[in-house]
Symmetry: C2
Subunit: 186 residues, 2 copies
């Protein structure tokens, strides 16, 4: 058997994850059957489950990867920056459908719940760091406590994602985000 | 057969709807099997489907009733008032789980989508009326257009519901709502 390099392996994993993600988004967790996963990834079940132990693991990895991406964006652009990015990036718009599945799966998959909690904490930590920096440099109001500011931003993120998930037109979202941003600015 | 009065009939319908609602909240649409619905309502399938044609109709009626209630609250208390009410009313906290099911069902149930769209329009109309009144009486900023104001409030409603649906602690939500309210006030 020819030797497969680490980067090839990691690329294959990544391809499977991207295709599986769309499959979960489209059909939901239960609806993403093994044969649909095979069709979406273009790989046999043997190949898929060589990389990921089972469907649960595959889903957890998909969810975790999305959260890592969000956290990275939040730490470089801030929460409002992340939200604006989500509005423009079709791939992230789909995130809400996945989020709905995560909310459901969390009730039955304890391991997912643990990863999800940890991922939420990491996102919150990234946002806290960034806000602290902006308060210190005088760009944000300091008469609102940090916890309330984070709560408002999380609320906004959830609201935007939920809104996008509902297929409605959202032409005033940027202006609504401006208002939120203004309400926090020094 | 003894004659059943209209008010008895309406009460029975109402009892079935309340129990079915909790069943949909707990198990999801697919998970709310007919036998679970029988157990939750304490009625036979014959009795349930005497009042509601089938499970689809039952679910649509549950969803519609919730939206009527929200619209009524929004028209008497305003959107922020509605949101604060949701925070305190355990029954409405569950609404998010139902909302998640609605989002899924809308893709496959056209009639639900139509009712849902009409219900959303009614909610929006109630909010618009109330905001217009408040702007006219000088309590709200008029330098933000009405559409943007509504968008911000809808975003907040969605964010709060999504937040409540995620089982997380939300002790700063009232303060975050204060900030939103302040940002709109004249």
């Amino acid at each position: 058997m020819p030797k497969v390099s680490d980067s090839d392996l990691s690329e294959r994993r990544s391809d499977i994850l991207a295709a599986a993600r769309m499959c979960f988004v489209t059909y939901g967790y239960d609806g993403a059957t093994v044969s649909r996963l095979e069709k979406a990834t273009g790989k046999s079940r043997g190949a898929i489950f060589h990389h990921f132990q089972n469907k649960e693991t595959l889903f957890r990895t998909v969810a975790h990867r999305d959260m890592l991406r969000m956290t990275e964006l939040a730490s470089t652009r801030g929460m409002i920056g992340l939200i604006r990015y989500i509005l423009e990036e079709p791939d992230l718009i789909n995130w809400w459908s996945l989020r709905v599945e995560i909310t459901r799966r969390i009730r039955v998959d304890e391991e997912l719940r643990d990863t999800w909690d940890a991922d939420q904490k990491a996102l919150r930590a990234a946002v806290t760091d960034r806000l602290t920096e902006q308060r210190d440099s005088g760009r944000l109001r300091t008469d609102i406590d940090l916890e309330t500011t984070i709560q408002l931003l999380e609320l906004t993120l959830e609201g935007v994602m939920s809104h996008l998930g509902s297929d409605r037109v959202s032409d005033r979202l940027p202006e609504a985000l401006d208002l939120i941003e203004q309400s926090l600015r020094a």
